[in-house]
């Protein structure tokens, strides 16, 4: 069911051969553990390399995590990790419990759990105070055997203690932005204790996770690295025939396709349900299918068992055009980079064509047997985000509205007229705790309309928020079709009494071209004038993707002076007429 894995020895060997050249991104990770977990760092290095990431790592000594975290001078801190993984084995953490179990009362066992929990959470909290790194701590797996045997479940037994521990761990750490819990419990559930553990390896080297499962663990932990580096996928483009339903609509007809409460029809219903749940958490869906439009859209609109409806798709291309062209158009319509797209198709030739022409797209050739579609998509760790913001939950709806805007634009032939008809309202507010994570997310994800493309973690944004020399604005955009949420941000640094510098200025692609950027700039200029500032400095740092922002400064009246663009505040700035701006 899970994709085949290579031998651990291959990972270890290949990790050494990766040269530090030309990776698109890099990340520094630390691995801490209370058992031997050799090979994990190497597996992660190789897996990261495959997605064009240079992953360097620090691995602490055997069971040294306590000392390493408590000692500010330790190698761990010197390494300056960005993400730290702390993987805990329950039997090593709860060692004593096996000796004392029968002699302790339930109350004492509960106290034991609380004591262990406090020890561990205190260490983790200490770490977050000393390091800027995110920390991913594992919860505990339940040993499948208990001295209580069949009575285990009746008592506050070991499994109950561990469940209790996991629950409390979650509650205690949930409000920490830099702490994540990795569900090691589920890892054991998924692959099975019998497979993961080997008593000989434990006896010889306290190797709790046997060699074959180290690369699988690495794969799971990659699920944190991808969103951290902004490599998560945002959009799924789907074929229709033998993808969303069984059979071919053009041949089998409306009543002949497999979709609904039959053995093979159920498979597609379940696959669609999963896609719908991804849609609900913020993943954009689109269709790219070679079919007669009328025939195929009828299924989407009218089929009783179709879970995904027309309004779940941000873009629909059902035609006989080239699939490459279609997918390019989809990307353009949704305003999303090709590297944020996953394409699902059952036809290996189509997949090959897309793969060759557009290698930035992640192309998934669906398995021959449709019953494996669901486990395949479920096991993908490419859709993770480090946080789900309100904007994520609303995204599907937002894109549906976007489609309506495009339709209005097509009906109105004058741009000014169109902008007026949109009735855009821009609301600009200083950052606060409630908008912090969204603002960080925007800096991490926005590529196109972004003057400097500086990426800021939540921790970094928070420290800038608390810096009195800095001004951070969150830009909320709304129009007659609906609320786009916070879709823009700017970060200004006061260099001295006379000069402000624009550190970051970005706008989500959803709202580009509606004069929101001018509204933002006019807000900055007004604020600067009020403070008696003379000049605003700005910079355009060109990347592969930010062409849409390249002439913005010039358009706003900034004059190029070497590295910087400068706006002289004795000049006037023309506010966009079509927008109502509210500044708080």
């Amino acid at each position: 069911m899970y994709p085949k894995e290579e031998n651990l020895s291959n990972y270890i060997k290949n990790a050494k051969k990766i040269e530090k050249i030309n990776h698109q991104k890099r990340v520094r990770i630390a691995i801490l553990s209370n058992f031997t977990i050799t090979g994990l760092a190497e597996s992660m290095r190789v897996k990261c390399h495959k997605i064009n990431v240079d992953c360097s790592s620090y691995v602490s000594g055997y069971d040294q995590y306590n000392q390493e975290i408590l000692n500010s001078e330790s190698e761990l801190y010197q390494f300056k990790p960005e993400i730290t993984f702390l993987i805990i084995d329950s039997k090593n953490l709860f060692k004593e419990i096996y000796d004392i179990f029968y002699t302790k009362s339930i109350k004492e066992r509960k106290e034991f759990v609380d004591k262990k929990l406090d020890e561990l959470t205190n260490v983790v909290k200490t770490f977050t105070e000393k390091s800027k790194s995110k920390i991913v701590i594992s919860n505990l797996a339940i040993p499948s055997y208990s001295p209580l045997g069949i009575l285990e479940i009746k008592d506050y037994g070991i499994s109950q203690m561990i469940l209790d521990f996991n629950e409390k761990l979650k509650t205690k750490l949930k409000d920490y932005n830099s702490i994540y819990i990795y569900d090691l419990f589920q890892f054991y559930y998924k692959f099975g204790e019998q497979n993961i553990t080997d008593p000989q390896k434990i006896a010889i080297g306290d190797i709790k996770i046997t060699f074959d499962y180290i690369p699988r663990l690495a794969e799971e932990l990659l699920g944190y690295i991808k969103p951290y580096l902004g490599l998560n996928k945002k959009c799924i483009v789907l074929d229709l025939d033998n993808t969303l339903w069984g059979g071919i609509i053009g041949e089998d007809g409306f009543d002949g396709i497999k979709l609904g409460p039959t053995t093979s029809g159920n498979i597609f219903v379940e696959f669609q349900r999963w896609l719908l749940s991804l849609h609900n958490r913020g993943i954009i869906l689109a269709i790219n299918s070679k079919n007669n439009f009328d025939e195929a859209i009828k299924v989407i609109r009218d089929h009783k068992y179709m879970i995904l409806k027309e309004n779940h798709f941000a873009s629909i291309r059902i035609n006989w055009n080239d699939k490459i062209q279609n997918i390019k158009e989809i990307a353009k319509e949704i305003n999303i980079g090709l590297d944020s797209i996953v394409f699902f198709d059952d036809d290996p030739r189509n997949c090959e064509i897309i793969k060759t022409a557009l290698p930035e797209i992640m192309t998934i050739n669906l398995p021959k047997d449709p019953s494996f579609y669901l486990p395949l998509i479920q096991s993908m760790n490419d859709f993770n985000t480090l946080k789900i913001t309100n904007e994520d939950k609303k995204r599907g709806e937002i894109y549906h509205k976007q489609k309506q805007r495009v339709e209005l634009k097509e009906k109105t032939n004058n741009l000014e007229e169109y902008l007026k008809k949109l009735e855009t309202k821009v609301n600009i507010k200083n950052i606060d705790e409630s908008t912090l994570s969204r603002i960080s997310q925007l800096t991490m994800k926005t590529n196109q309309f972004n003057l400097t493309t500086k990426r800021y973690t939540e921790e970094k944004v928070r420290s800038m928020m608390n810096n009195s020399q800095m001004l951070i604005g969150g830009v909320h955009v709304e129009d007659k079709f609906g609320d786009s949420g916070i879709t823009g941000t700017f970060i200004i640094k006061s260099e001295n009494i006379e000069e402000w510098k624009i550190d970051t200025f970005l706008l989500s692609c959803r709202v580009i071209g509606r004069e929101v950027e001018q509204a933002m700039m006019s807000c900055i200029i007004d604020k600067a004038k009020k403070e008696g500032v003379k000049r605003i400095l700005a910079e355009f740092i060109s990347t592969k993707k930010n062409l849409p922002a390249s002439n913005f400064l010039e358009k706003c009246g900034f004059k190029n002076k070497g590295k910087y663009w400068i706006f002289d505040l004795s000049k006037e700035f023309k506010r966009p007429a079509s927008i109502s701006i509210d500044i708080k």
């Binding site: 031998n7 651990l8 020895s9 291959n10 270890i12 060997k13 050494k16 050799t38 090979g39 000989q200 390896k201 006896a203 010889i204 080297g205 190797i207 046997t210 060699f211 074959d212």
Partner: protein, 79 residues
């Protein structure tokens, strides 16, 4: 079969087959540390479909020892 054994060892220890002899082991192969030793045993077990005991694992010093233990488990290494 000897060839298969050498191939596995060369792969795990990241060394060319030509550098291996029956006397090769941790003493004369740089990559052959205790961890790689365990990895090797693990791969031999799955490749030859055998299971070594902890004592046998510890007893392995050089390739000759591996051959002896494989033979005890009924794996014929005659080329």
């Amino acid at each position: 079969m000897s060839q298969k054994l050498y191939k596995i060892i060369s792969n795990v220890m990241d060394i060319s087959i030509s550098e291996l002899t029956d006397k090769s082991g941790p003493e004369n192969i740089e990559n052959w540390d205790s961890y790689n030793g365990l990895l090797l045993i693990d791969e031999l077990e799955s490749e030859f479909n055998v299971k070594f005991s902890v004592d046998e694992t510890y007893d392995v010093k050089i390739i000759e020892d591996i051959k002896r233990h494989l033979k005890n488990h009924g794996v014929s290494l005659d080329d």
